[in-house]
């Protein structure tokens, strides 16, 4: 049983490396085809998959008591909550009585330079 587990771990590692390679190649494909979402999916989608593989297979979260998964999930949910409550303010460049000059400038750059190329320079 231990030998199988040994091979299992190495197999998981091999998958992780393969996914890494795909995620590095992703932006090239995304640029070549002009489809930005390919870059995002290969970057973050793969990150999620890799994280899942590590958490389940290396950290053995599945074989722990249920409440441990709840702790971890709760922490993640709170981070989403933080993002949801903070982003509407932080991601705005100006309001009724205030403005953030550097953000306005950057938004202008994005609007102007956003047409040619997706802003990716490799």
């Amino acid at each position: 049983m231990s030998e199988e587990a040994h091979h299992n771990y190495v197999r998981i590692w091999a998958w992780l490396v393969l996914l890494l390679v795909i995620s590095v190649i992703g932006p090239f494909v995304g640029d070549a085809t002009g489809l930005k979402w390919i870059t995002l999916v290969t970057a973050f989608g793969i990150a999620l998959v890799k994280a899942y593989l590590v958490v389940v297979n290396f950290m053995h979260l599945n074989s722990e008591q249920k409440f441990v998964s709840y702790f971890v999930a709760t922490a993640l949910v709170f981070m989403l909550l933080l993002f949801a409550g903070t982003a509407p303010d932080v991601m705005k460049a100006e309001g009724r009585n205030w403005e953030k000059p550097a953000w306005i400038a950057d938004a202008a750059v994005a609007a102007a330079g956003g047409d040619h190329g997706s802003g990716e320079h490799h």
Partner: protein, 192 residues
């Protein structure tokens, strides 16, 4: 060192060993620390398209290499746990040392990477992108260093066949540090 453990430590009313419960707590609290840094970064990055120009200068190949190093070190950490489970303390210690080698490699490579970037003028103050870059990766690197040090302590006891349960515990922490990097890598290197 014969640790005189209180009886309290040996009880398991929650159904799992106390040390493991504690490490998962630590992982949860680290999730919110890194979560805070990364959430702040993402908010800024999404609103600053112009940062793409700065972000282009991060070195994807070094980042990928370091990712590879960390993934491999996670493998050696989990194999160390397996050895410890079978009671083979010396083997667990050797695998933990291999993990530490991975950690040190990661830090050295990062040292070269940062030196390269700093000498090219991408300092922590040259753009807020770089502020986030160095801060996020820096906090992560501090956790790599801290984890490596603890791992050495656990390994030196494991070599003598003592406190083998701690191999799994430092492993869980180590895998978490790896998972943080799994997300840092695309954020800072790929999805520029």
């Amino acid at each position: 060192m014969a640790a005189t453990r209180p009886i309290a430590t040996t009880r398991t009313a929650a159904g799992m060993a106390t040390g493991k419960l504690a490490v998962w707590w630590i992982v949860a609290s680290e999730i919110v620390i890194f979560g805070g840094v990364l959430a702040s970064y993402v908010m800024h990055r999404l609103a600053h398209e112009a940062w793409a120009e700065q972000a282009a200068h991060t070195n994807t190949w070094i980042g990928a290499f370091n990712t590879m190093v960390l993934l491999t070190s996670s493998l050696s950490a989990v194999l160390a746990h397996q050895a410890a489970e079978r009671g083979d303390g010396p083997k667990a210690a050797r695998l933990l040392y291999a993990t530490v080698v991975g950690a040190v490699t990661f830090l050295i490579v990062k040292g070269f990477e940062w030196t390269e970037e700093i000498t090219h003028g991408f300092t922590i103050t040259s753009s807020t992108f770089w502020s986030f870059y160095y801060t996020a990766a820096g906090i992560h690197a501090a956790h790599v260093l801290g984890g490596a040090i603890i791992m050495l302590i656990v390994a030196s006891a494991a070599k003598k066949g003592q406190e083998l349960h701690r191999v799994e515990l430092i492993g869980i922490y180590w895998h978490f540090v790896d998972v943080v990097w799994i997300f840092l890598f695309p954020l800072l290197y790929i999805a520029k």
